[in-house]
């Protein structure tokens, strides 16, 4: 991040007027802290760039004149029928095994990856939060049944079942979305259920019941706002999971069927060419890694920003502990959160 960026940030921080009347919500406070986390901001930038590139994929395709599924057997392959290296014949990142433009395929792959990642995470979050709330709030046999179900899904060999489903129904986008969503909600449910179990004992829940609030209202108006933090973190961390999951399914040949451009299937095709065409593996792998890493870093950043005590205290680590020992009880929480922390 450049000096001007930092200066701009400082200015922005000053520009916020002192709010005397309006209280600051948890999200506002979180955002203020997140803004000073350079790693998280960099991740947001990476994700946005990736999203813009993905949206503009057709533009790149028309600029280069290379359609996404269009093989160029003359310009895109060497005389021996091997992919051409980056920068050859207008193939910026080289070509693939039948002479398609690798860059265009990676960009279209980004569309698919981001779409699958975000869609399945949305489905899984809505389902996971609802099921977790219901299990935790109602308790009793409802909870017993749902909790067992959650545990069963969590313990299930995911890929094995995905294989079985693909065998029965054949691979397709809806099946992929379904499988990934189905295996993602349970983790969210487990966290939400646990939190709900403790939250429902709070007096303000009793207060809502004494006002005559219906269970649905209590779950979504009174309990849910208290869960937004952890759910937000989980959801951010589930997006890269889903992207990896989707790519893995494609890699195994049970994902979205060819010729759809997809990072997993590009890497699967590249398997036979790693001796001769390094770019065929390295560029799609890099796209996949950069995207998932950015989401993971952002998730970590949000987690830190939501609860400035946990990680930051760890990060404050030795130095501040030593200081505390020497100076007596210093205010550990005020230890400046090292901006360079990953």
């Amino acid at each position: 991040m450049s000096v001007t960026d930092i200066a701009f940030e400082a200015q922005a921080a000053e520009a916020v007027p002192e709010q005397a009347i309006e209280g600051r919500s948890q999200l506002q406070l979180t955002w203020r802290r997140l803004r000073h986390d350079r790693m998280a901001i960099a991740s947001v930038v990476v994700i946005l760039v990736m999203a813009v590139l993905a949206l503009l994929a057709p533009l790149f395709a028309s600029l280069t004149g290379h359609g996404v599924d269009q093989p160029f057997t003359n310009t895109g392959l060497t005389a021996d029928g091997i992919p051409v290296p980056p920068g050859t014949n207008g193939f910026i990142l080289g070509s693939d095994y039948i002479g398609r433009d690798l860059l265009i395929r990676i960009l279209y792959g980004a569309r698919l990856s981001l779409f699958v990642g975000i869609t399945t995470t949305l489905i899984a979050t809505v389902a996971g939060v609802t099921i977790g709330l219901v299990a935790g709030y109602f308790g009793g046999w409802v909870d017993s049944v749902l909790a067992r179900f959650i545990d069963a899904v969590l313990a299930f060999p995911v890929v094995v079942l995905a294989l079985a489903l693909a065998a029965v129904f054949g691979a397709s986008l809806p099946i992929v979305l379904g499988v990934i969503s189905f295996f993602s909600w349970a983790g969210i449910s487990r966290i939400v259920r646990g939190q709900t179990l403790s939250l429902k004992e709070k007096e303000y829940i009793e207060a809502a019941r004494s006002l005559g609030a219906a269970p649905l209202r209590i779950m979504f108006v009174d309990i849910l706002p208290n869960l937004i933090g952890p759910v937000l973190v989980l959801a951010t961390l589930y997006i890269p999971n889903a992207i990896v999951f989707e790519a893995t399914l494609s890699f195994l040949g049970i994902g979205i069927p060819a010729p759809t451009a997809d990072w997993g299937s590009i890497l699967s095709e590249a398997q036979n060419y790693y001796q001769v065409s390094w770019w065929y593996v390295v560029f799609p792998a890099a796209a996949l890694l950069v995207t998932t890493l950015a989401f993971n870093l952002l998730g970590d950043g949000i987690r830190d920003a939501l609860d400035p005590r946990t990680e930051r205290l760890f990060a404050a680590g030795r130095k501040s502990r030593r200081r505390r020992r020497r100076e007596g009880p210093a205010i550990a929480l005020a230890a400046p959160a090292g901006g360079s922390e990953a």
Binding site: A155, A247, F251
Partner: protein, 322 residues
């Protein structure tokens, strides 16, 4: 005795789980039109006569519940998974051939990932904010973000290809039976192990680091320090033992994911174990093999979970075996 009662109960629930999986699998595959099922069992290229033969031999024309009874009977009483239509081999034989390969991957991978994950986590926790801690934190996130097959392919490009080009041929892909030599076996398995370990160790590094840092902040650790124990003793005798509990419970959660990792690793490194064969069975629509593998996978998860729970109880005296 508590342990025996616990074991009996867990084995019984395990059998229940297996029955549920078998039932689910059965209905998933067989509760469909007879012809579809028969084609799945006989292969896509089967002639109408063969299909009729299969329908008659396997009793696919009988009511579903009768078939279900036969299915359970064959499965649990005779351990008979049927025959691969592909080459007529018994699925039991295929599984028996595949198990040493898959076991090699799993055991070595788990050992490596625990060693790496725990030691990096412990070192990071005892030196928070050090260079080592920072580097490992970034490495952990990279490991968490990377799909197994990407790591595998990158390892092949970065290690296997250059080494072999320079005539150093110990590291290989494919499988080499353990019985024919430990050193070449390790040479063939080392990349799959590193791949599995890289992906999974990340989780354990992060977990053991966080948990150990929490534990080291506890009052009883301060007491241990105050009474003059050496730092090494404090960390290992008092800290690590308590910090291991979440690690072990995570192990239970990860067993399902481990199978997925194994499938991918076998695919990347050309190991024809259970994982690769099941992917192939899917590609060819080889139903008997798929069903057999699903049930073996479920059995593995059940057994591994029992083992993990027992470790858990041994590690944490507060956990009662109920």
């Amino acid at each position: 005795m508590a342990l025996a009662r616990f074991l009996v109960r867990r084995v019984l629930t395990g059998i229940l789980v297996l029955w549920l999986v078998a039932t689910g699998t059965f209905f998933l595959f067989f509760a469909r039109p007879v012809l579809v099922v028969a084609r799945g069992l006989a292969g896509r290229a089967a002639s109408p006569q063969v299909i009729q033969q299969v329908i008659r031999d396997l009793g696919l024309d009988q009511p579903l519940m009768v078939q279900y009874g036969h299915f359970l009977n064959r499965l649990f009483l005779h351990l008979d998974f049927g025959y691969s239509y592909y080459n007529g081999e018994s699925v039991k034989t295929i599984i028996a051939q595949d198990i040493p390969i898959t076991a090699s991957v799993v055991v070595g991978g788990v050992v490596l990932w625990l060693i790496v994950g725990l030691s990096v986590g412990i070192i990071s926790a005892t030196r928070p904010r050090s260079l080592f801690d920072r580097v490992s934190t970034v490495g952990v996130l990279a490991g968490l973000s990377a799909p197994t097959f990407v790591i595998g392919e990158l390892l092949i490009i970065a290690i296997f290809v250059p080494l072999n080009q320079h005539g150093f041929s110990w590291i290989q892909t494919g499988y080499y039976p353990l019985s024919q030599g430990v050193i070449p076996w390790m040479g063939h398995m080392i990349l799959p192990w590193v791949t599995l370990a890289t992906v999974q160790a990340a989780v354990y590094t992060r977990l053991s680091r966080g948990s150990l840092i929490d534990t080291l902040g506890e009052d009883y650790i301060r007491t241990a320090r105050a009474k003059g124990l050496s730092e090494r003793r404090v960390v290992f005798r008092h800290g690590v033992r308590a910090a291991l509990t979440p690690v072990v419970s995570q192990l239970g959660v990860d067993i399902g994911g481990l199978l997925g990792g194994v499938v991918v690793v076998e695919q990347v490194f050309g190991l024809s174990g259970l994982g690769q064969d099941s992917v192939q069975a899917i590609a060819t629509g080889n139903l008997p093999v798929i069903i057999g593998f699903v049930i073996v996978a479920a059995a593995f998860v059940v057994v591994a979970n029992i083992v993990v729970d027992m470790c858990y109880a041994l590690l944490d005296p507060r956990v009662r075996l109920t």
